[in-house]
């Protein structure tokens, strides 16, 4: 086999791995409740593919080939484990193998169940996002650890612990009951959005890893949308992320300088992404069931409108924040409301909204101090403004944001 043929085989393995990883892990683990072994089995199957496909050619149905190989590997893995309980999933797996999988390539898509398992309330909420990134998208622990700013060893251990809990605690691969669904779906959406947020914050304009994580989050949301096309909040989340994604090129000046949203050059925003976001927002609103992500997307939609009208409807943003506070009165929403109120009704109104927040809660919340500093400055309260700027600068993690605040502080 020539070098280029070998390369294309490698690419075939990579492509199948990327497109089918989550489906295969979900299918294998939904039958066994053992996510860890399902992943190990699939890794073995991928290694086997890299060894045999260059020699024998890429099979007609690569996904079915991987599933059959992973299934065998799974059985071997469990057989070699000296734990009494472990024999049960294997037996079940042996029982359910109906016929040669290469002949029946169709297998059910269990990724939705896997997403619900990853965000199960019995799992540490801090692990919801890492679990999804690993089990559904196949990201390795080292890369997830990098995004979460902890050591790869620690992340690896936490992931193993979470998967052991899934296997042993009796968490089932099933869609939650109707009355639990909204809350359980929220946890899934939160976890996807957290991945996006990390990718976003981490980006700093140049960091390729951060950018990847934001893209992975959007991909994950698209998977969810495919599986739950009727859920308004899923459309809302997709709309929100696409609106943010559309502004990627405008977030930094040519010199890497931070550019606040209201000062971004909207010609740099991606029109196709904004249009797609609007379609999802429209789809969501047609289902007349409002929610947090739809409201956040609606706020971004108002900002996006500036590309057409040239101005920002701060009143509309303020109203959306009011609704958002009723659903989720987080520090973020309340600070957002204050910033919008300052534009819509004047700096005093914004400052009054900030004053209504508990000083203890906001002591380490950077956006609060940044907004406060700007409003105090606008009101000419210089000593207090300087003080707030110092706090905002001290709490900033992004050096471009720090630089921006230092300049404004004067």
């Amino acid at each position: 086999m020539s070098g280029s043929e070998q390369e294309s085989t490698h690419r075939a393995v990579e492509r199948v791995a990327r497109e089918s990883y989550g489906r295969l892990v979900a299918y294998l683990s939904s039958q066994t409740c053992d996510v860890g072994s399902a992943e190990d089995a699939l890794s073995n199957a991928l290694v086997a593919a890299l060894e045999t496909w260059p020699r024998d050619g890429v099979p007609q149905n690569p996904e079915a080939w991987l599933l059959t190989t992973a299934r065998r590997s799974f059985i071997d893995l469990v057989r070699h484990r000296k734990v009494a309980e472990a024999s049960e999933p294997t037996l079940a797996l042996l029982r359910v193998e109906p016929k040669d999988m290469t002949l029946s390539p169709e297998f059910p898509d269990e990724r939705l169940k896997l997403l619900f398992v990853c965000a199960h309330p019995a799992i540490d909420p801090a692990m919801h996002t890492p679990l999804m990134l690993q089990t559904v998208l196949g990201l390795d622990a080292a890369r997830i650890a990098h995004a979460f700013l902890i050591s790869p060893t620690t992340m690896g251990q936490r992931l193993v612990r979470a998967k052991t809990k899934i296997r042993d605690a009796g968490i089932r691969f099933e869609i939650p009951l109707e009355r639990e669904l909204p809350q359980r779906l929220d946890a899934v959406l939160e976890a996807i959005y957290a991945a996006f947020g990390i990718g976003w914050d981490d980006m700093a304009g140049v960091d390729q890893r951060g950018r990847d994580l934001a893209e992975e989050a959007i991909w994950l949301a698209r998977v969810l949308l495919q599986l739950m096309p009727a859920e308004a909040e899923v459309h809302g989340l997709v709309a929100l992320m696409l609106h943010c994604e559309a502004r990627r090129a405008a977030r930094r000046g040519p010199d890497g300088r931070y550019v606040p949203l209201s000062e971004q050059d909207c010609h740099k925003w991606s029109a196709p992404l904004m249009e797609e976001a609007e379609r999802h927002l429209h789809e969501a609103s047609s289902r007349s069931r409002t929610g947090r992500f739809q409201l956040e997307a609606a706020i971004q939609s108002v900002h996006a409108e500036r590309a057409r009208s040239g101005e920002i409807q701060w009143n509309a943003i303020m109203v959306f924040y009011e609704q958002l506070i009723r659903i989720s009165p987080t520090l973020g929403t309340r600070t957002g409301y204050a910033a919008a109120a300052a534009e819509a009704k004047g700096a005093e109104a914004g400052l009054a909204a900030l004053d209504g927040m508990d000083l203890h809660d906001v002591s380490a919340y950077q956006p609060y101090w940044a907004v406060r500093a700007h409003l105090l400055q606008r009101l000419g309260k210089r000593p207090e403004a300087l003080d707030a700027f110092d706090r905002a600068i001290g709490l900033a993690e992004d050096s471009a944001v720090r630089q921006f605040l230092l300049q404004r502080r004067g």
């Binding site: 066994t32 309980e85 999933p89 605690a169 089932r172 691969f173 009951l177």
Partner: protein, 146 residues
Amino acid sequence: MGRFPSVIHLEARQAPQCPQGEKVMQFALLIFESPEAFAARNTDENDPYLGAWRAYYKALVEANIYVGGDPLQPPETGTTVRLKDGKRHVQDGPFADTKEQLGGFTILELPSLDAALEGAARCPAAAIGAVEVRPVSPGFKRQVIG
């Protein structure tokens, strides 16, 4: 009874696909109670806490998910034993010195953690103390009893 009808529907949940679930699993509900709840046990027959427990027990039995369980005497009656260097150390009181103390346990047979959490949420102690849900380990039991 009116408060617990959904316990009866616990068993009607969609059959799980996992192999352990085909045989259903056993979960221990470890019931942690406050000193006030322990004290309430000695009040009269019409105590609402006691009434809630009666209804809860009845609902579990009717739902055919009750395996067994028992309340425990208050933590002050506990005595803790440790063997150090072959020497027996006996200590007055429960193992852990926490506000809420183990007050009893119930074993339920159910298809999934979610079903067990449903059962735990309806336990009268959940409202004033806490209920820890732990799967029973049949694997270790097999190793022990052979």
